[in-house]
């Protein structure tokens, strides 16, 4: 579904990602670990095509379409979606409005089904009437992002740290709904969606099954492997050590 080869990205003239290669097939979910500032968010923003993220080399295709010069909304139309780590406040634009926009609805009223989904995320109708992200707690931001994704229902979904700043109960709730969004509860042959999850803490890993894990260091994928093993190594020994172990066993990709 998503093919990235030798991707190099600059932000404000500074190279953040270098020669990065990553393939995510339909039906697959990958997780990306990495220390703060290694370029995880930059990678997601680049895949989504936000203007400050300048691709200076490499290839990027989505569903077989070369997307490098495609504006963000065109990529979204092709079926991409993203849950932001730090989404901005938009005054006067309510969460409910965002849900309608994500769903492509022109009406002001919110789809009944989405109100039901909102309830599952512990989002009340009152909350839907609040200005998006204004005064939201960490957990509320994540749940609001996920509700918007439920409305949008993309084929390929990127989650930027869905577990940071979220309490244990909510991580479980969010993990469950992410699993649904990503067809995790279906038999592998029936899985149509794909995803890329960024996690710093790794705590979301207990609530969602993924197919492959990567560790990112200084703008490159330093090692890749089976999720259980990588998660364990990262959690127990840290990013650098994990990469060391990784290269001993399988060699870098």
């Amino acid at each position: 579904m998503l093919e990235i080869k030798d991707l190099t990205v600059e932000v404000k003239g500074k190279e953040i990602i270098r020669d990065l290669t990553l393939n995510i097939e339909r039906g697959e979910v990958h997780v990306l670990f990495g220390p703060n500032g290694c370029g995880k968010t930059t990678l997601l923003m680049t895949i989504l095509g936000l203007p400050n993220y300048k691709v200076t080399g490499g290839i990027m295709t989505f569903k077989g379409v070369d997307i490098i010069n495609l504006p963000t909304n065109e990529r979204v139309k092709l079926g991409m979606g993203m849950s932001f780590q730090h989404p901005p406040v938009i005054r006067g634009v309510k969460l409910g409005d965002m849900v309608n926009i994500a769903q492509g609805r022109k009406e002001e009223r919110i789809d009944e089904n989405l109100i039901v989904l909102a309830k599952r995320l512990n989002i009340s109708v009152d909350f839907l009437n609040r200005d998006v992200n204004l005064g939201f707690s960490g957990g509320e931001v994540k749940r609001s992002e996920i509700l918007q994704l439920l409305a949008q229902s993309p084929d390929f979904i990127m989650f930027d740290e869905p577990d940071s700043g979220v309490d244990v109960e909510n991580i479980e709730l969010i993990g469950g709904i992410m699993s649904e969004l990503l067809d995790r509860n279906k038999r592998p042959s029936k899985r149509k969606k794909a995803g890329l999850i960024i996690t710093h803490s790794g705590s979301i890993m207990r609530h969602i099954k993924v197919d492959r894990a990567h560790v990112m260091l200084e703008g490159r994928i330093a090692c890749s492997g089976m999720p259980d093993e990588i998660t364990k190594n990262v959690m127990e020994s840290g990013f650098e050590k994990c990469v060391e172990l990784c290269s001993k066993e399988v060699g870098t990709e």
């Binding site: 909304n73 979204v76 979606g81 901005p88 938009i90 005054r91 006067g92 965002m98 926009i101 949008q152």
Partner: protein, 406 residues
């Protein structure tokens, strides 16, 4: 003050320049010919019907308790459908009610400046609206001041009275025909909110590039009275200066001003709202949203003066710049004269944030659509205090005016 004294005072103020706004040569504008009266608003010429709608006026009079239309300097239509409500030209009202002269120039000084003086000396009607004591007229009254002739100087004096424990909701539109290149609107409005009464006043200014506009408004609010003003201006205007003032004189008197301005073209606006909190426990809220595009310049003022015990006032002004050749001056002022007051203000002027556009694009909108959603959101103040149907309608009127400019 007797009529003679008023005329004398006005005479002395005839050349008194206004404290704010550029000086207008009133003598360049004329009174013009009389227009024929209408039997219904539908009879108003087809070419102006859209402008009526744009000013929030419902030509069918559906869901309106009364309607008033003044064309240039002639009152062409005035009806009342609701008992307990009075609506007519101020000129007629003064003939009908001898007591009414006691309300003239009580809230706005006749010698405030040359414009108030001109309205006293050369008045061309205006409307009188009154709700009787205890009558809650929940269906809105609509009134429209319309200019259809070039070089007209419209000089109206409006008096609005909500008697004790009554309720009055007014939609008022000012509009101008596209054929008019240059005209002047001077409008004095004096509001009296008696004990326990309430007035909501939703005003849409639908001006055009050649209009010079100098409203002079003041409100006197007694014990437990409430006044809510919603002001919307989305069309260009040559020059507009106003600074309506609410005097909360009674205990727990409340005043709210909400102002939404989208200034574009070569528009020059100096607009403020002032609340004087004299009554014990009186409260005011001044909210404004100003967008400046093209070469527009806007001075957005707000002023709260706290004089009564436990008075409370808040100002919230936000500006959004859409152009490097536009200008916004946001001037919030607070004046406290005792210690048990609670006065505050927040003001901010910014541009459309790149980050917000990107966020919306990530939900599927184009850059243009995203910008428009942000602007809409910026201007979206929750209108409180209006009856449900009127709140919905105001929202619709607002959406329509916005649609026209975007």
């Amino acid at each position: 003050m007797t009529k003679k004294e008023l005329i004398e005072r006005a005479g002395r103020a005839k050349t008194k320049k206004a404290a704010l706004g550029e000086d207008i040569a009133i003598e360049n504008f004329v009174t013009g010919r009389e227009h024929d009266a209408l039997n219904s608003l539908d009879e108003f010429p087809e070419e102006y019907q859209q402008d009526l709608l744009d000013a929030g006026i419902e030509p069918s009079e559906k869901d309106r308790s009364g309607s008033f239309l003044q064309r240039d300097c002639s009152v062409v239509f005035s009806t009342v459908k609701y008992p307990g409500l009075e609506l007519m030209s101020t000129t007629d009202a003064l003939k009908e009610h001898d007591w009414l002269k006691g309300y003239l120039w009580k809230a706005v000084p006749v010698d405030m400046d040359k414009y108030t003086a001109e309205v006293e000396l050369e008045q061309t009607h205006g409307y009188f609206i009154r709700s009787e004591a205890g009558k809650k007229v929940t269906m809105p009254v609509q009134s429209c001041l319309f200019i259809t002739t070039d070089k007209i100087g419209q000089k109206v004096h409006n008096i609005i009275i909500a008697e004790e424990d009554s309720e009055l909701h007014i939609i008022t539109g000012c509009s101008v025909s596209h054929a008019v290149n240059s005209a002047l609107h001077l409008g004095v409005s004096e509001f009296y909110v008696k004990k326990g009464a309430k007035i909501t006043f939703t005003m849409i200014h639908n001006w055009s590039r050649g209009m010079e506009v100098r409203p002079r408004s003041a409100v006197v609010i007694e014990d437990d009275g409430a006044f809510i003003s919603n002001y919307i201006l989305m069309t260009p205007v040559k020059s507009l200066q106003m600074y309506p003032t609410a005097y909360c004189v009674g205990r727990n008197a409340r005043a709210t001003f909400q102002t939404i301005i989208y200034a574009h073209g070569d528009t020059k606006i100096d607009s403020g709202s002032r609340a004087v909190l004299r009554g014990e426990g009186s409260r005011s809220e001044i909210i404004s949203r100003v967008i400046a595009a093209d070469n527009a310049t806007v001075i957005a003022r707000s002023d709260v003066i706290g004089e009564g015990a436990n008075a409370k006032g808040h100002i919230e002004c936000r500006g959004l710049m859409l152009s490097d050749t536009a200008e916004v001056d946001s001037i919030p002022e607070l004046k406290a004269t005792r210690k048990d007051l609670d006065l505050s203000h927040e003001a901010a002027v910014g541009k459309v944030a790149e980050e917000e556009i990107q966020y919306l694009m990530a939900r599927g909108l184009s850059e243009e659509e995203a910008t428009s959603v942000i602007i809409r959101g910026f201007l979206n103040v929750d209108i409180t205090g209006l009856p449900d149907a009127l709140a919905r309608e105001t929202k619709k009127m607002f959406d329509m005016s916005l649609e026209k400019v975007m």
